[in-house]
Amino acid sequence: MPNHIIDPNKWIDSYSDYLYNYTISRVNDRDIAQDLVQDTFLAGLKSMKNFKGEASERTWLISILKRKIIDHYRKINSKKGKAEVRMTYNSDTETEGDWLEERVADPFDKTAEDTLENSELGVAIHNCISNLPEKQAEVFKMKTLLNYETEAICNELDITASNLWVIIHRARTAMVACMEKNWY
């Protein structure tokens, strides 16, 4: 019996930022990331009938996105293969022979590890935002991530400023708790 229902009308509002951050940390290019997210939504729509409801919508979309990212790397790699690669590594004869081992990234390199973790920060933040109640998530995003003016948000959502600050306060408290659990 399906535990999760699927509703593509809300996909973009609910998941696009999460998927986008997930993709950027893996492909390092904004435009490509946006295209891959787009492809994922379209592919999801096409194969909607295969959604069995065993996992949440988001997990299911991520699994499609993973395939898309792999495909993307396959594509650029096959392009690379067509060019001849010539590299002059060591000009001195002394170190000749031991080239590859030397060039493998040091796994304990502090800075490399830091960047790796940082690149997942966006995923963690958007994960926590998606755990917020819908209204809080909306206001928090507009205020904090899109940097809208307080007045603009109030007008658009038809709430008072003190309303807004109460929502922001609740959202921030929940965000801190969520990030402390999942991130720090």
């Binding site: 593509p8 009308n9 996909w11 973009i12 509002d13 696009s16 930022d17 986008y20 951050n21 950027i24 940390s25 904004r30 990331a33 946006q34 997210v37 787009q38 939504f41 379209l42 729509l45 096409k46 909607m48 940082n118 690149s119 920060l121 966006g122 933040i125 995003k141 205020k143 904090t144 991530l145 899109l146 307080t150 600050w165 922001i168 306060h169 921030r172 965000m175 801190v176 990030m179 402390e180 991130w183």
Partner: protein, 83 residues
Amino acid sequence: MSNIKLECHEANHLCDKNQYKETSFLERVRLIIHLIYCKACREYTKRNVKLTKLINNPKVNTLEESQKECLKETFEKELINHH
């Protein structure tokens, strides 16, 4: 406003506003004075500032409204075809 002293919930409100740089100079002074003697609000402020720092990290990416509209447009065309 007559009293310089703040209640804790007022201090937290100013602290929230401060995360978006929407406090006046006087408000900041009142907040700082409150923080001197209130440990609970110091703790709240500390965590709040930490959250702001995380969010302002350039690695946190958010799609612009225009990009989202662009996604939606393509997606909705497909959605109509789908039904």
